[in-house]
C-alpha cells in the first residue's frame, strides 16, 4: 500500500512540476518542429530523385515505384531518428529533475521509514513507478506529436508516418526510463554519501550531458563502441522499433537506413555492414540497469544522509 500511496504522491508532484512540462515536453516539441520544418527542408523527393537517378536510369519503368518506396523509407527513417533522439533527451531532462527530487527526499524518507510501515525500498519503488509514468506520458505526447508534425510536413496529413512497432517504442522508453531513474539515483545518493551538496548542481546535469554527447556522436559522427553506451542503446532501440530498420554498429544513426535490406541492394552495395541483434542491445541495457541499481542500493545503505543544515540551505 505504501508503494501505491508514494507512487500517487510523487506522480502528482511530477505532473504538477512546470520544469517537467517545459523541458521534457514543450522544449522537445520545439526540437521536433525544428527537425521537421528547418532541418527537414532539405529532405525532399526531388533530392532523392537526383540521388536515385545516379544509380538507376530514370527511364527505367520501375523508377517511379522505386522512388516512391525509397521516399517512404527515407522519411520514416528521418522521422524515426528525430523521435529516438528526442525521446532520449526527454528522458534525460526528467532524470535531471529526479536527481534533485531524490536528493531532497533523503531526509523526509529517513523520517518516514522510521515512523511509518514503509521501507526505503518501497519509497524508492513508488518514486521509480511515478518517474516511469511521467516518462511514458512524455513519450506518448512526443510519439503523437512526431506522427502529426512529420506526417504534416511530408504528407500534409494525407498519410501518417506511424511507428512500425509502437509497443517496442514504448517498451524502450519505459526501459530507458528505468535506466535513467537508477542513474539519477546513483548520482543523487553519491552526493549524499560523499556529503558534498555543492556537487549537486553539477552532477544533476550529467544525465543530459552524457545523453547529448553520446547521442549526438552516435547520431551524426559515427558508430562503433559508442553505440554500446546505455544512452546510445536507448536511441538505437527506439529508432529500430520506430522504423523496423536493422541496427548496424558501424553506421551512424542518420545513415542507418543504408542497412535496410531493400535499400542496401541499391545504395550500399560496396558497404560492409555490421548488423547487431537487438536482443544483444537489450542484454547490455539490462546489465547497465542492474549495475546502476546495484550501485544505488549500495549507496542507499552506505549513506547516512546530508546534514539538515546543508539540505535546507
Amino acid at each position: 500500500m505504501a508503494i501505491l500511496k508514494t507512487y500517487k504522491f510523487y506522480l502528482k508532484s511530477l505532473i504538477k512540476d512546470p520544469y517537467y512540462w517545459f523541458w521534457a515536453v514543450f522544449f522537445m516539441l520545439f526540437w521536433l518542429v525544428m527537425g521537421a520544418f528547418i532541418y527537414g527542408s532539405t529532405v525532399t523527393k526531388d533530392s532523392l530523385r537526383g540521388d536515385l537517378a545516379k544509380i538507376i536510369p530514370p527511364s527505367t519503368p520501375i523508377f517511379e515505384s522505386i522512388l516512391e518506396d525509397m521516399w517512404n523509407k527515407s522519411i520514416l527513417h528521418y522521422t524515426g531518428s528525430w523521435y529516438s533522439c528526442i525521446a532520449l533527451y526527454s528522458l534525460s531532462t526528467i532524470a535531471m529533475g529526479l536527481v534533485y527530487y531524490i536528493y531532497y527526499s533523503t531526509i523526509p524518507i529517513r523520517y518516514l521509514t522510521k515512523y511509518s510501515k514503509a521501507s526505503p525500498i518501497r519509497f524508492y519503488m513508488g518514486l521509480t513507478l511515478a518517474s516511469l509514468t511521467t516518462s511514458l506520458i512524455a513519450a506518448g505526447i512526443l510519439v503523437a506529436s512526431t506522427i502529426i508534425i512529420y506526417s504534416y510536413k511530408f504528407h500534409e496529413l494525407n498519410k501518417f508516418i506511424l511507428p512500425r512497432n509502437p509497443l517496442g517504442v514504448f517498451t524502450v522508453t519505459i526501459t530507458g526510463g528505468v535506466f535513467k531513474f537508477f542513474f539519477s539515483t546513483t548520482l543523487a545518493l553519491l552526493v549524499v554519501a560523499m556529503r558534498k551538496p555543492r556537487l549537486l548542481g553539477m552532477l544533476s546535469f550529467v544525465p543530459f550531458i552524457l545523453s547529448y554527447a553520446f547521442g549526438m556522436y552516435g547520431l551524426m559522427a559515427g558508430g562503433g563502441l559508442v553505440h554500446l553506451s546505455p544512452f546510445n542503446i536507448i536511441l538505437l532501440l527506439a529508432f529500430h522499433y520506430y522504423t523496423e530498420s536493422p541496427i548496424a554498429l558501424n553506421l551512424r544513426v542518420v545513415e542507418m537506413w543504408r542497412a535496410d535490406p531493400e535499400v542496401e541492394k541499391w545504395f550500399s552495395k560496396d558497404l560492409t555492414i555490421q548488423l547487431v541483434d537487438p536482443a544483444i542491445l537489450w542484454i547490455i541495457l539490462s546489465l547497465w540497469i542492474l549495475i546502476t541499481a546495484g550501485i544505488s542500493l549500495i549507496l542507499l545503505r552506505v549513506q547516512k544522509g546530508v546534514s539538515v543544515e546543508e539540505i535546507i540551505s
Binding site: F9, Y115, S119
Partner: protein, 266 residues
C-alpha cells in the same frame, strides 16, 4: 527492565564532522517536557537528533529502549513539526497532509479541522512554501499533532503566531494524547504549563529538570551566590541561577534577552 520514554546518553551531535552543537547531553523524557533556551543553544538540533535525522552523532538515543538508528517501520512512535521532514513538492498542503497522515497513521479529518480553524480553509489549498511563516508553523504543528504519535516533538511551536492563535494552539497541544516535547525561547509558556518538566538549554548542554513554578522564581546572575540552584556553563563564563540575586528569569519575555541582560548588567 525496559526503559519507556526517550533517553539521551552522553549525546554529541552536529552538522559537520567533529564540530558538535550538542556537547554531552544526558536526558530522560518520560512526561511532557519544555526545553527552554535562547536561540542558537541547540534546541532544534536536539529535536532533530531525537527524530534521527542528524548526520554527525556520538552517544546514544533510546526511544522506548530502542536505539533511534535502528528504528524502522514504527508508525505512531514519534512525530515532529520540523519542516525538513516534509518532502519538497509543489503539491498543496491538503495533498501533503493526506499522504503523510496516511503513511504515518494519523487523523486527516482532525488535521483539516484544526488547520482550517487556525489558518482558514484556503490554507489547505496552498503550497507549503507559499504560506507565511506563521501559517507554515500552524500546518507543521497540526500535522505533528494529528499523527497522534506517542512522542510529539514540537520545535518553537508558537513562533510567528499571533496571541489568539497561540492560545488555541496551546490548548490543542495540551489536549493532544502522548508525551509532548516542546522547545522554545518564550518564557510566558511557563505560567501556562505548570505541570510540565522544564529544562534549560545553553550552548549545547541541558540543565534540569525544574518545575516551571520553580523556574519562574529564579534569578539570573553572573556572580556566584550562596543559594545557587543551577550553574550554567558558558564559554564566556558561568551563569548562576538562584532565588535571591540577579534579574528575575520571568521578567525576560524571551530567553533570547538573557545574554543582553547579562552583558548590560555585568
Amino acid at each position: 527492565m525496559l526503559f519507556v520514554g526517550i533517553k539521551l546518553v552522553d549525546l554529541y551531535a552536529g552538522y559537520r564532522r567533529g564540530q558538535f552543537v550538542l556537547r554531552g547531553v544526558n536526558l530522560e523524557i518520560t512526561d511532557n517536557t519544555i526545553i527552554l533556551g535562547p536561540n542558537g543553544s541547540g534546541k532544534t538540533t536536539l529535536l532533530r537528533t531525537i527524530v534521527g535525522i542528524t548526520v554527525s552523532k556520538r552517544g546514544r538515543i533510546l526511544i522506548d529502549g530502542v536505539d533511534v538508528d535502528s528504528i524502522r517501520g514504527r508508525p505512531g512512535l514519534v512525530a515532529a513539526n520540523l519542516p525538513e521532514v516534509v518532502i519538497s513538492t509543489r503539491l498543496s498542503v491538503k495533498h501533503i497532509a493526506s499522504y503523510y497522515l496516511d503513511v504515518l497513521g494519523g487523523d486527516y479529518e482532525y488535521f483539516k479541522d484544526l488547520a482550517s480553524r487556525l489558518g482558514g480553509v484556503e490554507v489547505l489549498e496552498k503550497r507549503l512554501h507559499e504560506l507565511s511563516a506563521g501559517l507554515k508553523k500552524i500546518v507543521l504543528n497540526t500535522l505533528a499533532i494529528a499523527t497522534r504519535a506517542k512522542y510529539i516533538l514540537l520545535d518553537e511551536p508558537f513562533e510567528n503566531l499571533d496571541p489568539a492563535r497561540r492560545v488555541v494552539m496551546l490548548k490543542e497541544i495540551v489536549s493532544a494524547s502522548g508525551v509532548k516535547v516542546m522547545d522554545t525561547h518564550a518564557t510566558w509558556l511557563l505560567r501556562a504549563l505548570p505541570e510540565w518538566n522544564t529544562y534549560l538549554m545553553a550552548e549545547g548542554l541541558v540543565y534540569g529538570p525544574l518545575r516551571p513554578r520553580e523556574l519562574e522564581e529564579l534569578r539570573v546572575s553572573r556572580e556566584p551566590v550562596e543559594d545557587i540552584v543551577l550553574t550554567i556553563k558558558l564559554k564566556t563564563g558561568n551563569i548562576y541561577l538562584s532565588k535571591t540575586t540577579g534579574t528575575p528569569l520571568s521578567s525576560l519575555e524571551s530567553l533570547d534577552k538573557l545574554y543582553e541582560v547579562l552583558t548590560w548588567q555585568y
